[in-house]
Symmetry: none
Subunit: 209 residues, 2 copies
């Protein structure tokens, strides 16, 4: 997931997880379709996606799978399960994947002994909450044009007018919840009307976008 599930930026694990905990981590390779954990299971720790894509899902009463989230490289998941006696959903590899597990006991011990780490973890979660809320805001925008504008405005670089695309347009379409056709058409229309200019993977915004 090129853009990161939080929409804007991910806080790398190295930035806040103490080295002693990172040293206790183990990696696991998974094949597509394989489960990492199941609802009701006993939480093993904090997970980080190294490679591939992991989907978090539940199965409702009628047997239908409800996808809660799809995590990509660099993302952590099962944060909440650190504080829960059971998993609250299934985690399944959507592609061949590698995940890293930071053992629950070490993570919690680090938080107990090291208020700084605990607070950094809180700040990370708080940032996630903010970013997720931003994404919800984006998903409330019906119009493809406005949704793309919203994305571009939020992802403009330091100059506030340039957006460097990180993956394919098709991936971007999935990220912002449009079909790729709708995204292509919208970008083409914006370019025709002079709202943006495209060159390679870079988009430059005009003032009057």
């Amino acid at each position: 997931m090129p853009w990161g599930s939080d929409g804007v930026s991910l806080m790398p694990v190295e930035n806040w997880l103490p080295a002693v905990v990172r040293a206790a981590a183990t990696d696991h390779k998974l094949k597509a379709g394989e489960a990492i954990f199941r609802l009701g299971g006993k939480p093993a720790g904090l997970y980080e996606v190294i490679m591939g894509r992991i989907r978090l899902a539940r199965v409702d009463r009628s047997g239908r799978e409800i996808v809660l989230h799809i995590a990509g490289p660099g993302e952590t998941f099962a944060e909440a399960s650190l504080f829960s006696p059971q998993y609250h959903c299934d985690a399944i590899a959507s592609t061949n994947a590698t995940v890293r597990v930071y053992p629950k006991r070490e993570v919690l011990a680090a938080f107990d002994k090291n208020p700084k780490a605990a607070q950094a973890f809180s700040a990370t979660l708080a940032r996630q909450v903010m970013n997720l809320r931003t994404r919800i805001e984006q998903r409330n925008i019906r119009s493809a044009r406005e949704r793309v504008r919203h994305f571009l405005a939020l992802n403009a670089g330091s100059d506030g007018r340039t957006v460097q695309l990180q993956g394919t347009l098709k991936d971007l379409a999935a990220e912002i919840g449009l079909t790729h056709e709708a995204l292509y058409r919208t970008l083409a229309a914006l370019e025709r009307s002079g709202g943006i200019k495209r060159k390679g993977g870079k988009i430059t915004l005009s003032k009057r976008l």
Copy 2:
């Protein structure tokens, strides 16, 4: 958390926030429609809803209000703003309400000195992340019918077949990102086809929903 809740019980503030912080709190009474804080304002602290309902929202370009969350009695909000120099959304009383403010400085000081408090706070945030992810996934569903199904499945009570509505249908429509007309029509259609039964603020699901 009237809507979008995963049904997990709330951790009362009294259980994890040190008495010294609670002693520093102040209560504020608000009338329906009154703002507690606005986007861009300087965070005062951590908020707890004592009575009534508080909605966190932003106003988009076209002037439409986008509800990010609705907080009910016992819930805290503005947690993320503890680590931010500005509020990132508006907080507005949906009903006459009372909120309690725990001053930012005291809260952060408590986290530094008391690992248990910091950890409980992390747990609260982790749960929020879960709920927000659930809502984002819901917004990926285009069909009104499927979106309503998703909501009902995730919010069914302990029997798995009954959903107790906590506010007006109009509020629910905003919560799940539909116009109120679309929601009325969808519920009526589901009822006609035998998928659900409605009585007052309660919805009962048939197995084959």
